[in-house]
């Protein structure tokens, strides 16, 4: 398992069951051995593009909710990486697969997709930066873990590009930065022993719910 810092490790442990369901979902295993149907992958990719729009908005909300220059810089960096890079990547892969930008932009949002991003955004609007980060972390770091594992274990080249993106240095660096942001923002607001705070359980619950919504997202991917 990847090391993205103390807070993430604790939250992941508290969501053990859903975390395994998420990071070892049939969709993921299908990318590993190449058995995932192309149609399912493209369907997922289009939904993921819609997802990234709202996920970028949620990271922009993290800028709004930042209290320090350093919190702000990490959040701005993540918004940039999402809007300027990851979304462009999806546009590129889709175009190569014959899905035009217009078609991609017009993808109708599936209920599982909507549920996840609205949960994250609402957690952020109603709470402070910690509530928002607890909801954002499973997606960022889960993809980091999946990428790293599949880079080592993949037995097929079919989804190698996707795997390399999330296993790559850039993405892994982003996971490290978000893990660090999580540790520091918790320490700043709660203290070094943040896991002893009455808030901790609710933050872990937010992380767990977002993880369960990731499971539903993969599941949706399997049913175009």
């Amino acid at each position: 398992m990847s090391d993205y810092g103390k807070a993430f490790a604790l939250m992941r442990d508290a969501a053990q069951g859903p975390w395994r369901d998420y990071t070892r979902h049939a969709f993921v295993e299908g990318m590993k051995d190449g058995t995932l149907p192309r149609e399912a992958f493209l369907h997922y990719l289009r939904q993921d593009y819609v997802f990234l729009i709202h996920f970028s908005r949620a990271w922009a909300l993290a800028v709004v909710k930042s209290e320090t220059h350093s919190e702000m810089l990490t959040a701005v960096g993540t918004v940039n990486a999402l809007v300027a890079e990851e979304m462009q990547l999806h546009i590129g892969i889709c175009e190569a697969a014959g899905i035009s930008q217009e078609e991609l932009f017009a993808t109708p949002e599936r209920a599982e997709n909507l549920a996840y991003t609205r949960f994250v955004l609402e957690a952020g609007y109603s709470g402070d930066l910690l509530d928002l980060l607890a909801a954002l972390a499973p997606c960022v770091m889960g993809y980091g873990e999946i990428g790293t594992r599949l880079a080592a274990e993949a037995t097929s080249e079919t989804y190698r590009d996707w795997i390399n993106t999330y296993a790559g240095e850039d993405y892994q660096g982003a996971c490290q930065a978000v893990g660090e942001l999580l540790n520091q923002s918790l320490t700043r607001r709660i203290g070094a022993d943040f896991e002893a705070s009455p808030r901790w359980d609710r933050l872990c619950q937010t992380f767990r719910t977002a993880t369960e919504l990731e499971v539903n997202f993969w599941q949706m991917g399997l049913t175009p």
Copy 2:
């Protein structure tokens, strides 16, 4: 069909298919003829209690987003009706059915429930009062329509209390007030011919999505 004003009628017409699926769902028809299993009803009621917490928060957000004294008064009145009356009703029915307040408060939120309330709250946070009201209207007025129809058509006494609540003068008055608020807030922000505005389609889309999420909510009610 109930008359709750011009804007509501137009939005309902634009969401015709999902509106029918919502207001004539098997769960609703089961309350009409008394075939709905008690277990499904109590399961629904417990989820609806959790729903009402977040729905009340969303109506409180309508107070925050109000621009006139009159908008404020209607929204405050609705928050009160929800928190002081409708939620108490649920507590009462559940207690009578042997579900204690502690058990009710600890109901785990189902994904279909979460999806709906977070969608409404996020629409409100990210938009203005109109975006919020378009997301709030289907629940308020749909229950009004269902209540009125079932009061006339019910062939069983099993769910008469529930039906009477939503068919009753108090609840119907609330639907009228929200219909009026919808008309006035649209006119104030867009003009009397609000349906000609470029925003109109997106507001109808928000209404439609909330209606679809109502369908999913009933469906969840059938599977305790």
Copy 3:
């Protein structure tokens, strides 16, 4: 000094200088001995009406940001008291003084007024319930303290109605309820020793800034 609970007492002590400037401002002393010009009082009252609109919105935001039934009930109760009672009181006093409702509603908002309410609302939007309550507390409880002291010390009958409102049982009960909400929401989120948390200083800073903005508000009252 009034006893509105532990958290309030600690926050007030941490803002000692500004708190004295606020609760013993020349405007307040002028109400005590009746030397405050009527014109200043009416000017203040009109601005305070505009203030109450936004202050009610901020308390509605506290409903949105509530995590428990009990937090919700106190916040809903406060919104009601503000919208249904305190605002009506201002309308009444102004009408008796020859200021029509239309004129009152059209009062141009002074910069000192705007600064205060937008600070409170933004603290609430960007933070959680604690950040919002820290910004709301100085107004609620300061008026409670001023009312109690002036009821005992006033040497003139000129502003007796105003004094009685804030010294009265209803208003003092509201101060107690908000003090209790402050204690409980801090304990729920941080723990019983909330004053040892790294957040505490920033919460006290929010309370202090709101207190300073109260001083500016009285000062504005003196210059119609």
Copy 4:
């Protein structure tokens, strides 16, 4: 007068008096002829650094409130320019003037500063992207106009660096982009004849209030 598009021109015309007070304030004229005391300039610069933190947060909120890819890109670009460039510029000038980063970061926020940024953020949180942009525009475009005029009219080299920043191609390009964003987001939400909408007056009022808060900000700059 600079040409930053139709919507901006109309809003500026509707706020004519305050706009002149803002763009031709004594502080500005003092930079033009070099009579502005260095102490006032550095005091302003430190407050402006605190301002930029919250102004960047407000632009990040514009990303959250975006509905199209193109709205998102302009808003993300502006956040970047503010956080990565303009704030660094202030750090640099302050350091050259002997004000360390620690000292700069610890600058106590003046009431005129707080009033302005909280007004902008709250307008954005409570309204939609249009309400937010109407509050953001006066700062962005006013500095653009001031920079252009002073580049042509300055009779002293003392504040040439500051003037060149805002007269420069980069900053003027940002003003053009924001003017375009204003036009397009108005057209998308209201229609091509947006100035005929009932919302228009309130949007102009928001622009006007922000302009008045800019006047207060310059005034604060004169009194360290």
